[in-house]
């Protein structure tokens, strides 16, 4: 036909790198976060008063000086909560908004002061006089166990095969304990909410949240109003990482109560110290293990208990500790296994979701016994890994009885081993260590297999709302939230691709409970899997109507209606997109649709410990090389190579960004990020001056990242892509293992290093000193 056939493809379809939709606004400083919004006239500011006891009865609380402080409008305590004084996200009623009678951790909110300015509210909050009768407190796993081991929620056990026999008959056995620290999210934008009161029982919340529907429900619960009175809006967060899955509830609820009470907009933003003190973090774990294996390093049985510091309330600790168990195998087959969680109540802030959601802790423990087996046999840990990988068609059943059917870990690891030149470098490092007295090197190559889906099956649903306006412009809304991960642009790409229009025709709009109801948290890496499919479903509905309309109007078969780049071909007539939509409007076609998606084929029976909790698995591997100063424990990551599986990437640039960022965040967790409580149970690392996340100068000097471009998701996901939010976080496990190798070199690798994390310079040096002592005692 004509030159029109050579039309350019659309700008911004799927499987093509696209910028983050807000990149321009980010760099210009015009991207609006909640604290940047122009406040409604008369906006008040709330600030929390926090406890200064880790566990105590409140004998007396004197807030007169708070009320008398300049600018103060009022003070809220438990008695001012119109509905339920509770923000527990799991219905346990164990997380009061304001403590009553007693406090259970240092930093627990007791009251909120409302003032004309934030500065006034903040100053006033510090004028409270509180008298406590101190109670014994259990700050960590050991103390909680010593105090009787109370659990915050029901624990879980996964069992397969005969563990006792597997251990008893094993040619070799190791038993030990591995601990790993918690982690603060350190989102750059702290927690914040602004509530604007409406008429009757209505209130609008602007909340930095990964879970607008939960904010909606919590606000309704606290105000004693139905969910339909509460509208929650979230355009973007300045980082979330799980820290805004449930932890925004408190702030939103306080803002809402105050807004309704005083009839004015109320904003609440804690300072960084209070944010880090009063909101939950990644759980630290203590894992006790007993592992049987043979002379080849092949595991015969694993028996392990996963104790977690959950804090004073349940929050999401049940699901987090469950996920630790779901990842206790990482990529390895256990012929016989028993895994038990122990979600312990402690007098610390209630720990919560954080990228990986317990998975990393399960996997770090697993890699500890792999490492220990290798050292005990004098083998390269990579060989022990390969000997234990899940098989294809055999040796492929997980501890939760799901069969792994999409296993590609062997190919991923083989390719990375070759591209990173692992064997030759390892040999060179061993030689270097032989002759270098002070500086030692280490290298490690570790795999990742991560299960995708919420293990609470019901959460695996999503909605979207798509409108096409008369001028052909498209309005996109869905239940997922944007925290920097690029979800909005990915879903917009899906829409652009479906309609074959340029990406800039799609307007991305703030997540709003009024447009898409009953959404799940943007969590568990599920954002684009769920919302991409829901949006595709909505678009598909509209598209079907458009096709039917065009076929009827022009008297052609439906398959003669083709969506070409920015135009529609109907028979042999071609119409501009906007022109075609205009025709459809006048043809009275409904140009709006609500889409829905639920993940198929998944189910989980927690009591039985059996089912198919995951739709598919994401895979990856990393190889890290480090250098360590054995006089001081200081170290540097020299080189990291990563090969990671995102299926058929929706947006390679965004996915690589998730991998780079996830790796560095994981490296921070395992190296310099250390939470430290003093003897009174007070967290003392509550600001960047004391809590050290990685810097640009901590990034590996050589940092090679590749996508496994050959991978396509075997499961029918959007564009055959795979989730990418959490899995890369665990790629960082190769860093502490490389550090361990450098440490173990001082004893000629004859003793398993057993270094816990975070591997601060102090811990590295102390490990070296311990290994020297153990070698001398032999």
């Amino acid at each position: 036909m004509t030159a029109l056939d050579a039309r350019k493809p659309i700008r911004g379809g799927v499987h093509i790198s696209q910028r983050h939709d807000s990149a321009h606004k980010h760099v210009a400083g015009t991207a609006e976060y909640i604290d940047d919004m122009v406040e409604p006239t008369g906006t008040l500011h709330a600030y929390l008063g926090l406890s200064t006891s880790a566990h105590g009865e409140i004998v007396a609380i004197d807030l007169d000086a708070v009320r008398a402080a300049p600018g103060v409008v009022g003070v809220l305590t438990a008695g001012d909560v119109p509905g339920h004084n509770d923000v527990s996200p799991v219905g346990k009623h164990d997380e009061p908004i304001f403590a009553e009678g007693k406090v259970s951790f240092w930093g627990q909110p007791m009251f909120a002061v409302i003032a004309e300015t934030r500065d006034q509210a903040r100053r006033a909050a510090h004028r409270a006089k509180v008298e406590y009768r101190e109670l014994p407190f259990a700050g960590d796993v050991a103390a909680a166990r010593a105090a009787g081991g109370e659990l915050v929620t029901e624990n879980m056990t996964l069992k397969r095969g005969d563990v006792a026999a597997g251990l008893a008959s094993a040619p070799r056995r190791i038993a030990g304990t591995v601990t790993m620290g918690g982690q603060d999210h350190f989102y750059l934008e702290g927690q914040i909410a602004m509530a604007v009161p409406g008429e009757d029982d209505e209130v609008t919340l602007y909340s930095s949240t990964q879970h607008p529907s939960e904010i909606q429900h919590m606000v309704g619960h606290a105000l004693g109003v139905p969910s339909n009175a509460v509208n929650v809006i979230s355009r973007r967060m300045g980082g979330g990482f799980g820290g805004k899955e449930t932890q925004g509830n408190l702030f939103a609820v306080v803002a809402a109560i105050a807004a309704k009470k005083y009839g004015r907009a109320v904003k609440i933003r804690p300072d960084r110290d209070d944010d880090m003190t009063a909101t939950g973090k990644r759980h630290d774990f203590v894992v006790d293990y007993d592992v049987g294996y043979d002379d080849e390093g092949r595991i015969t049985a694993v028996d392990a208990v996963y104790a977690a510091r959950c804090g004073y309330a349940a929050d999401l600790s049940g699901a987090v500790t469950d996920r630790a168990l779901f990842h206790a195998d990482n990529a390895y087959f256990y012929p016989a296994v028993r895994l038990q969680s122990e979600p312990l109540r402690t007098n610390t802030v209630s720990n919560t979701a954080f990228r990986g959601f317990g998975g990393p802790q399960g996997m770090v423990a697993c890699e500890r016994w792999i490492e220990e087996i290798a050292y005990s046999l004098g083998k390269d840990p990579l060989d022990v890994r390969k000997a234990n990988f899940y098989g294809e068609g055999e040796r492929n059943v997980t501890p939760y009885h799901q069969t792994v059917t999409d296993n590609i870990i062997g190919r991923i690891v083989d390719e990375l081993e070759a591209s990173a030149d692992y064997r030759a470098r390892r040999a060179a490092i061993v030689e270097f260590n032989r002759t270098s007295p002070i500086l030692k090197r280490g290298i490690a190559l570790t795999p990742v297999k991560f299960g995708i889906s919420f293990t609470m099956t019901a959460f695996n649903q999503a909605g979207a709302l798509v409108h096409i306006y008369k001028d052909g412009s498209i309005h996109l809304n869905h239940g997922g939230t944007e925290m920097g991960q690029g979800l909005y642009v990915k879903v917009a790409q899906v829409l652009a691709d479906t309609f074959q229009v340029d990406l800039d025709k799609v307007k991305i709009t703030a997540t709003t409970t009024a447009k898409v109801p009953n959404t799940s948290a943007t969590a568990a890496s599920s954002g684009s899997d769920l919302n991409g499919m829901a949006a595709a479903n909505a678009a598909g509905q509209i598209k079907a109507r458009l096709v039917a309309f065009a076929a009827e109007k022009y008297g052609v078969a439906e398959d003669a209606v083709v969506f070409e780049p920015n135009c529609v071909l109907i028979g042999n007539q071609r119409f501009d997109w906007a022109d075609f939509i205009d025709q459809a409007y006048f043809g009275r076609v409904q140009l709006s649709a609500a889409g829905f998606y639920k993940t198929p084929d998944i189910h989980w029976d927690r009591a039985a410990g059996k089912g198919q909790p995951f739709f598919y698995f994401a895979y990856g591997a990393s190889c890290s090389e480090v250098i360590v100063d054995t006089l001081t424990g200081e170290y540097m990551v020299e080189r990291v190579d990563i090969l990671h599986d995102v299926g058929k990437s929706l947006n390679p640039a965004i996915d690589i960004g998730q991998i780079e960022g996830g790796f560095i965040q994981g490296m921070g967790w395992l190296t310099t990020e250390e939470l430290w409580w003093d003897a009174k149970g007070r967290l003392r690392t509550h600001a960047p001056s004391t809590y050290k996340i990685p810097l640009a100068s901590d990034v590996p000097k050589i940092f090679n990242i590749k996508l496994a471009e050959w991978s396509e998701n075997k499961a029918p996901t959007i564009g055959r892509s795979k989730a990418v939010g959490e899995p890369p976080f665990m790629l960082a496990m190769s860093v502490p293992e490389a550090l361990s190798m450098a440490a173990a070199s001082v004893v000629d690798y004859a003793i398993p290093p057993r270094m816990d994390t975070p591997a601060t310079p102090e811990r590295v040096l102390m490990t070296i000193e311990r290994l020297k002592r153990e070698a001398a005692a032999r």
């Binding site: 321009h24 980010h26 210009a28 750059l188 934008e189 973007r236 006089l631 960004g657 960047p688 100068s697």
Partner: protein, 484 residues
Amino acid sequence: MARDTVRFYLNDALVERGDVRPDETLLDFLRLEKMLRGTKEGCAEGDCGACSVLVGRLDGEGLVYEAVNACIRFVGSLDGTHVVTVEHLAGRDGALHPVQQAMVDYHGSQCGFCTPGFVISLYGLWLENPNPSVPEVERALQGNLCRCTGYAPIVRAAQSISSYGQAAEDALNAEREAIRARLAGLRDGQRVEVRSAGGTVIVPADVDDLAAVFTEHPEATIIAGSTDVGLWVTKFMRDISPVVFIGHLMREISVSGEAITFGAGVSYTQAFGVIAEHIPQMRELFERIGGAQVRNMGTIGGNIANGSPIGDTPPPLIALGASITLRKGDARRVVKLEDFFIEYGRQDRAEGEFVEAVTVPLPRADEMFATYKISKRREEDITATLGAFRVKVADGVVAEAVIAYGGMAGTPKRANAVEAALVGKPWTMETIAAAIPAFETDYQPLTDWRASADYRMLAARNLLRRFFIESGGDVARIVRHEVA
């Protein structure tokens, strides 16, 4: 004569304020009063860089722009400067600045909250150094935290900026003469004295004026870089009035054959070139003090005067035999730095007396000198322990040893017993090993969140071992980037 307003330029506009509060931060002024909300608050303690802005100041006949943390920079300290925020970068037609376009094209933002701060830091770097190396980029970004990207795309963006535009053609460079003239026009040689309901702000006209002001108001809070006092306000909400801002004073550096004298207001950044040239053993330490924003604000004088046991400069300065000049009114006295620190929270400084200058003898050719800092994170972290060593060996025997540590006691403190165990002994590892137990005599360090007492002690001892090994010419520490 005193002027009762603070005057500075904010982007294109003159700001003249007669109601500046002593504790009013630049960040609050920008966000709450000017509604310039591109500049973010991430930590309010000068550690994350989300609030970074450029401050241009006259430097002799020149004009320098430096990234600073607006969260701990006080408005009263801005008299005579040019504040540039992220809103000033894009063109009038909305076109992105080369720094911004590079960040977009290299996917340098994810959540975007830290991004304006990174843009400002990179802009400041690019103005001075249009084609920075990776080490230079990393140094410029030590004071900027990003939790999303893992930094790699930002570093790549930083190295590509000049392919989007020429630094020489950038407005701040092209209009430099006009801006310089504008700032010079603000100089009237007068003291600034602003009294408001919030308290008193004084910006002395010169150092003699400072001496007069401080004699009159010995209760005043003296603020140079505000990298410490800033936190008294933002973290502890302390009342600091009256305040005397001195960051514009005592910025002279003089080098003789034997010593360098730093005015007390010399910033780490300003001192860096002289340090790198004359005491290259301190170069690495100076690259690891705070981040770039803190080094641009913080002063050597402040690092000493605040008496902290974990300041980074006192141990090496003590090891070098530095002395400080204290001034009250017209009276001056010189004190050896090691004698200035009496005990935790107490220094040899009389009421109304201030640190005017620090004189640092250069290590002599026949002396070995080194200083090493240990911290949990290599850069932009506070010291766990820091050792400084100056040893003179004659005929294989230790003739003189001056060793000082920070983080090991309530003050920066000499290791007298260790020194005594070395002097007169052959300079060998055996001597070092024999001296190691003396650390127990010199120090009883504390356990806190930065390090345990055991680690501090072990690392401190091992730093002496490192010094011995390196005195033989070997490098026995990790070096991320070789000095070019």
